[in-house]
Symmetry: C2
Subunit: 554 residues, 2 copies
């Protein structure tokens, strides 16, 4: 086994483990000792005294305790999962592919110290939706209630603007019961695979803070395990609430294991990408059996949500022929190709109930993919897109029959005046399931700056009710994002998400702006840097023109 | 006289003079030989053939013909101005300060080859508004009609989305008569000082393309004439439709001369900044006489619009006491200090009619400054801000009595849900005069990224009807922008302006997106780069991961 860098030795570089300047990690306790909710605390001077500003923190334990990535993160949810008594350990992996992988001679570093796999006992559904509908408040729900309230106590003493919520109903404080109810009604999901006990619970729903997803993933062109784990940690450091691993090429099974074991946030995947690797890239050779095996393989690794393009139906494919940019979703293109080659209905649509059964046995959430999303301004809001959206609404109801948590993916490229229609149609046809969009980009003219073209659209749709925003990096359409691009994309999207929280009137949102603005007005430069989304950049820019320490207090 | 760099020798660096990759400058002819409207032409292959994509071009002649900055640009409007017969050349400068400057021993390079100054003949008003109301279509208006229609012919064969215009009335094609009427009714302005004949005419109004302003300017801390002229050219290269020179410190009179003589776009200033230099920074020592002399000085140099904070009335100052960030506009703070020190009504308000008389004699447009704009999310849309806005509406009517062109400045820092109210109040109280906002920033939490926090707000308010967006660079709140920052700010704002044009349904806007999207879908990488806002960055990002030429055609 060759290890290509010191990283696989378990050492993390300091830029991943140093706390943000002026910030420290603290924990808020719940009703039981093992509910410990992380918070980014900034100590600022305000009104002559010292104040602690508490901020939501997605970065995991990396800045707090030394993490050996060969061992992975502590399984904080393990006891919650086992206590429920509805799962059982497995003797080994259930998928054929994972078995092959275990037997294969290693060509890359393997993640070694695996805990036993779990699956639902026969006849059990082990999803947070199932518990919620049964009236059970899980520790995950309590954890999330505490987490969503971060900063709220402080915010109570602050003036804030009234929001415009477009029908969202964000309460003044989030109770565990409120979390349960939102999940029970399908308006929010808690992506939390029982095989990913390392993840810190979080929620995606219109009546909670707007969340951000970052895509990472190697490709046949570049990067290996070290770089991908580093990108994962880097992404959570800069505010990724979930991370999608879109790796392709060989070794993705092993890379995914490294990622899941070290991820403090839910991990999403697009299983059809891996299935296609198994058919050596030939879409026509995909089969339900192969896809099913891939779902089980990934569910047992701990993937928290699957993007599945089950709404790309045979009949919708011709709707895309007059488009400027045809089908740009990779998953959508794969399924369209399969449907046309076989002239058959999509096997994802045909076998959707079996997909739900697998998800229910591991609590994998479904992210119903928008395979026909527009790839250009010209194609926004067309019939292909909305026909698929209506199908996703049908599938949502089926998933709910199996107690499977669902969110709905959305576009893409949409000019500003057409964004609201996307949210309205999603609300109308998808029964309140959370919306999760890629941008949308509000213009196509700026390759190299699509974090900005899409940050505008993301802020808008977040305001209108979209629950999670999939980031876009400056490299979109041009190449694979490196670490800097991941950070640029995340900061743009944290801005969009927070701007949306402010606009919706989230009760805790404005206190952060106020704290920073007071620092700014009082020329407390250190506080202004430290309270920022990116203290490092703020200081660096300041010091370029006014480097003296005197320049920071006056 | 010492010249600090080769730049003052008249040589421009290649990064200012090389055409954008794949682009060339062409000119569209008007009804007379001296109406030559510049256009950025990109040659792309599309549908098997070659197509020319015509784009609006603010960059001036620098990439086309060698410019010796010691000589300045050709005075393209000179004959139009003299033909009107309502102005006369002056024997010398009229302001005391300019006279002093001329007599002073040079401590820095002086711009030498000055043409004769002009002023309106006694009793004449030489503004575009005056001509428009008299029913005259000036060459400037015809020029603008051609310019605003760039790309329209091509766009006619393209599908496009219907816009949502919030009451704007953008015609299918802009006629010279339409330009005249919009100016006559005060809904648009053509900043075009008779002493700045070098500028290419452009228009600022809700029924035209959304425009972008870039602020440049030296300060006591850094930079001199060479750097500022370079920034000016750089800013127009990346899409600045107007440039404000916010220089402070000594030498600003001379730096301004260099800037105006080399500027293909209208130049705006905040004259109170220079007036304050003359009182050595003591606001209390400002007088109307000093200010008046400064206006004449700048009007004769050719400044196209003045930001004047005449709406900061004595009675409004106490409205800011409970704010989180008080008064953050520099001009506003200066005037508030003066009012409180003297316990008198602002001399700008008191002498507003005399200000208008000066403006009418040179066609300087007024940009009525928002001295009480909010400096934080917390302070958005408060009574201080709106009281001032209503006053600006009163002053608009007075300016129009003198045939002076007017636009209204707006905030600042505003959360998304409160942006529309700004536009609505402005429309309601300012009689349709164009709105010109700084951002607004939609959150305060991201120092170092305020081009993005504000790009979101700029796109929104542009959509709602704001006519010009004042850019914000990544250095906002932290330091002075360098060249890179100017470019980053401009690209973000060009994105915002174009996203707004798309959303309003500007008939020529979407053709650009379509051309780029087709190139993208057909993997015509060179076309995708060349059609982008920033071809250089797009190629660079692409080549980072896929550098081979083969990667550009497949």
């Amino acid at each position: 086994m060759s290890t290509s860098s010191s990283f696989i030795q378990g050492q993390l570089s300091p830029d991943l483990t140093q706390p943000l300047p002026g910030s420290r990690k603290a924990y808020l306790c719940g009703s039981r000792a093992d509910i410990q909710v992380p918070v980014r605390q900034v100590l600022a001077s305000d009104g002559g005294g010292q104040v602690l500003v508490n901020l939501y923190d997605s970065s995991g334990p990396f800045t707090d305790t030394p993490v050996d990535i060969r061992v992975g993160l502590a399984p904080l949810r393990e006891s919650w999962i086992t206590e429920r008594g509805d799962t059982e350990p497995l003797a080994g992996v259930s998928s054929d592919f994972a078995r092959q992988m275990a037997e294969e001679t290693a060509t890359m570093p393997r993640f070694a110290s695996r805990r036993p796999l779990r699956r639902a006992k026969a006849g059990k559904r082990v999803t947070q939706l199932h518990y919620a509908q049964a009236g059970i408040i899980t520790p995950e729900m309590e954890y999330i209630a505490i987490r969503e309230n971060i900063g709220l106590e402080q915010a109570r003493t602050e003036q804030r603007h009234r929001g415009q919520d477009f029908g969202a109903t964000i309460p003044n404080a989030i109770t565990p019961e409120f979390v349960r109810r939102e999940v029970a009604e399908g308006r929010a999901i808690i992506p939390a695979n029982i095989n990913h006990p390392e993840a810190e619970p979080m929620i995606i729903g219109r009546n909670f803070r707007v969340k951000v997803n970052a895509n990472i993933g190697n490709s046949s062109v570049s990067s290996g395990v070290d770089e991908e784990v580093e990108k994962l940690i880097w992404a959570t450091r800069w505010g990724a609430d979930t991370v999608m691993d879109l790796s392709t090429g060989r070794n993705i099974h092993h890379i995914r294991e490294w990622i899941v074991r070290n991820s403090p946030v839910p991990i999403g995947t697009v299983p059809i990408y891996q299935a296609l690797e198994k058919t050596k890239g030939i879409a026509e050779d995909l089969t339900w059996e192969l896809f099913r095996d891939t779902l089980i393989e990934q569910a047992e690794q701990g993937v928290d949500y699957f993007t599945i393009h089950a709404g790309v139906r045979l009949a919708f494919v011709p709707l895309t022929v007059d488009r400027v940019t045809g089908i740009v979703s990779r998953g959508g293109a794969i399924m369209a190709k399969w449907c046309l080659a076989h002239h058959q209905e999509s096997f994802l649509y045909q076998h959707f109930r079996e997909i739900c059964e697998i998800c229910a046995a591991y609590d994998v959430s479904l992210s119903l993919g928008d395979g026909l999303r527009p790839g250009s301004i010209a194609d926004a809001n067309d019939e292909a897109q909305f026909a698929e959206l209506r199908t996703l609404g049908e599938l949502t109801k089926i998933a709910w029959e199996y107690d499977v948590q669902v969110m709905i993916e959305g576009p893409g490229h949409v000019p500003m005046q057409l964004i609201k229609e996307n949210m309205d149609e999603q609300l109308k046809h998808c029964h309140g399931a959370p919306f999760y969009t890629l941008g949308p980009l509000t213009t196509d003219i700026a390759p190299g700056y699509d974090h900005i073209t899409s940050g505008i659209g993301a802020a808008l749709i977040g305001w209108f009710g979209c629950a999670m925003l999939c980031y876009v990096t400056p490299k979109e359409h041009l190449g694979l994002p490196n670490k800097d691009d991941v950070k640029e994309g995340l900061i743009a999207y944290r801005i969009a998400a927070h701007a949306a929280d402010l606009a919706k009137g989230h009760p805790a949102a404005q206190a952060w702006d106020n704290a920073l603005s007071r620092a700014r007005f009082e020329f407390r430069w250190e506080d202004q840097f430290n309270l920022g989304l990116d203290p490092v950049r703020a200081r660096e820019y300041h010091d370029e023109t006014i480097p003296s320490p005197a320049g920071k207090v006056a």
